[in-house]
């Protein structure tokens, strides 16, 4: 993957194996000797946390399938069976349902981190786009997973989201019937969503492998945005990054456990404990919290197709951020104006999320329109123009200089690694 492996097996059996499949050497070069910038802060632990959450969701999900029945007459009852009869079933289901929310909390922090420190800029465009694809897959997976308990919110969520496709002219209604496998959300829909909900996480895992591969080719970004230039700028992945990631994971798991054991239904909807009824829609229907900003955009546009395109566009625009940001300076730390606009944009995103949870009427809709316009303006107008007009602060010559100050930076280093990365 990256550089030469410094791993030299001593044991004859390991030598024999390594000369035929250099697996241990690959692990060693990727997760032990791999040089990481010495100045990574705790925002960089979310990559590891996300890997942990993916494993958590797959393990708990595989176990839930052992007790779940994907049929409209049995699905709701089988979920209740998991909650009441299966040994620790309540715990495993709550791990899975809250784990989805934790996964999204972590991925949003991870994305905001990337946007703030310019982690999408050359040469990390492919890395960024792979991340966007993972995010899209996550949204599809979470949506289909939410349908499986076959409660009222499951059913009506599935109805509303699949109906988005009916907005497309001519082919829309045909696409929707094809998605449903019928003329409404029904057993065929449940079965295909179940199948895909099981498949997609493994596709996510596959793209995660590409994501990590791309990361190890170009190297990690860091808070300064300056590429490592010498051995002094990096430390070996193990123990430095592994221990820091592990500590971040433990803190995140404490946060997770608080939801899990004290407010397991806080992020859910009470209506989903009512079995699906195709004849009655709940009075107030909202998606899961992680879709709320997009839901607000959907409702802000007074046109069916326009709303759908706006909503999808909000995600599509992320793919183009590496080329929309024209600034030569990578990290937001040295960009005084960008920094302010970045935080305004964060507030706009949170604001859209809040509006998404409110009824679509009066002032909420007007506010939703303003924030939706700002969301797109940030990417399509502000980011391209900032690069042209902003006067960035002086960027340090090296990571070591940024960490130790200008004078000490020239002094002989006390820590370093044997194999520096010299990629730009």
């Amino acid at each position: 993957m990256s550089g030469h492996s410094t791993f030299e097996p001593k044991h004859p059996a390991l030598k024999w194996f390594e000369s035929r499949l250099p697996l241990v050497g690959l692990i060693h070069s990727s997760f032990v000797a791999y040089p990481t910038p010495r100045n990574l802060n705790y925002w960089w632990t979310f990559g590891g946390i996300l890997s942990l959450m993916l494993v958590c969701q797959i393990v708990s999900g595989v176990v839930l399938v052992m007790h779940y029945t994907p049929h409209i007459t049995l699905a709701f009852d089988s979920v209740e069976h998991i909650m009441r009869d299966v040994s620790y079933g309540w715990l495993i289901r709550y791990i899975h349902s809250n784990g989805a929310s934790m996964f999204f909390i972590a991925v949003y922090i991870h994305m905001f981190r990337g946007l703030y420190y310019g982690s999408y800029k050359a040469p990390r465009e492919v890395l960024w786009i792979l991340g966007c694809i993972i995010y899209l897959l996550m949204m599809a997976t979470a949506f289909m997973g939410y349908v499986l308990p076959w409660g009222q919110m499951s059913f009506w969520g599935a109805t509303v989201i699949t109906n988005l496709f009916s907005a497309f002219p001519v082919v829309g209604p045909t696409i929707v019937e094809w998605l449903w496998g019928g003329f409404s959300v029904d057993n065929a829909t449940l079965n295909r969503f179940f199948s895909l909900h099981y498949l997609l996480p493994f596709m996510i895992a596959g793209v995660v492998v590409l994501h990590v591969w791309a990361l190890h080719v170009v190297g990690q970004n860091n808070p300064t945005g300056v590429e490592p230039k010498s051995a002094k700028d990096t430390v070996p992945f193990t123990p430095y990054a592994t221990i820091k990631d592990a500590f971040g994971m433990v803190c995140f798991l404490i946060f997770f456990a608080w939801f899990l054991f004290y407010i397991p239904n806080y992020l859910g909807h009470a209506d989903n404990y009512i079995p699906a009824n195709p004849l009655v829609t709940p009075a107030h229907i909202v998606p899961e919290w992680y879709y709320l900003p997009f839901y607000a955009m959907l409702r802000a546009v007074p046109d069916k197709l326009g709303g759908v395109l706006t909503m999808f566009g909000a995600i599509i625009v992320l793919f183009f951020v590496p080329w929309l940001d024209t600034s030569k300076v990578r990290s937001g730390v040295y960009r005084p104006l960008f920094k302010q606009f970045f935080w305004i944009w964060i507030v706009v995103c949170v604001g859209l999320g809040w509006l998404g949870s409110k009824p679509a009427e009066g002032g909420y809709v007007i506010a939703g329109r303003i924030l939706t316009i700002y969301y797109f303006a940030h990417f399509l107008i502000i980011l391209p123009l900032l690069g042209l007009f902003e006067k960035p602060k002086a960027v340090p010559a090296s990571i070591t200089e940024a960490v130790l100050g200008k004078n000490k930076g020239a002094a002989p280093a006390s820590a370093g690694v044997s194999a520096p990365q010299t990629k730009g």
């Binding site: 007790h67 069976h81 009869d85 040994s87 620790y88």
Partner: protein
């Protein structure tokens, strides 16, 4: 560190000795304490995932089956389901009982009763196999003790059961008389609720 254990393995003694003399440091303690805490946490997390594989509450709730014996004619054998398994309930004729009683224990492949209602070492006499005070009733789990097939009733040379999978044969007390099955058909835990009703499990 077991320093003595590596003595003689080509010059490693000095390294081990150096580690030994350094003694236990604060950092060693922290490593072990953190590692131990992590191991306990991991084990605690793994347990629910192992535990969920056990029979759940809905399965355990189905663990008792009642059978109305008044509907079973003399000589008739019925199969009921208990915990998902077939249980044979046989209203034996006097001839079947006499045959079972006449069999010497020394002629049996498995001399133990295998009756869940009796001691584990009870001999496989007909009394110990049949219903207590109701000797015409024989209640056995209908699963061949070889590899789990369901034997065919009223078949085989011993007037009991014949297993179609590998040819094991059982007599009229459900005792194995011809291999490869190693044990007699198991008698499940059951009791007579009345003269015409039993409760299995």
């Amino acid at each position: 560190m077991a320093g003595a254990a590596v003595t003689g393995s080509r010059g490693k003694e000095t390294i081990v000795a150096a580690t030994e003399t350094a003694g236990t440091t604060r950092r060693d303690f922290l490593y072990i304490a953190t590692g131990a805490m992590g191991a306990v946490g991991a084990a605690a997390l793994v347990w629910p995932f192992v535990s969920q594989l056990q029979p759940d509450a809905s399965v355990l709730a189905m663990s008792t089956t009642e059978v109305d014996l008044s509907q079973v004619a003399e000589g008739q054998m019925v199969t009921v389901k208990w915990r998902g398994k077939p249980v044979f309930v046989w209203n034996r004729t006097p001839k079947d009982i006499a045959e079972a009683k006449a069999t010497e224990l020394s002629a049996l492949l498995d001399p133990v009763a295998r009756n869940a209602n009796l001691a584990a070492d009870a001999p496989a006499t007909d009394e110990n196999r049949a219903g207590i005070d109701h000797e015409k009733w024989l209640v056995v789990v209908g699963i061949c003790t070889h590899l789990g097939c369901v034997p065919i009733g009223h078949a085989g040379e011993y007037d009991g059961w014949f297993c179609p999978c590998h040819g094991s044969e059982y007599d009229s007390a459900g005792r194995v008389r011809r291999g490869p099955a190693p044990e007699n058909l198991a008698v499940p835990p059951y009791n007579f609720v009345s003269d015409t009703k039993i409760s299995i499990g």
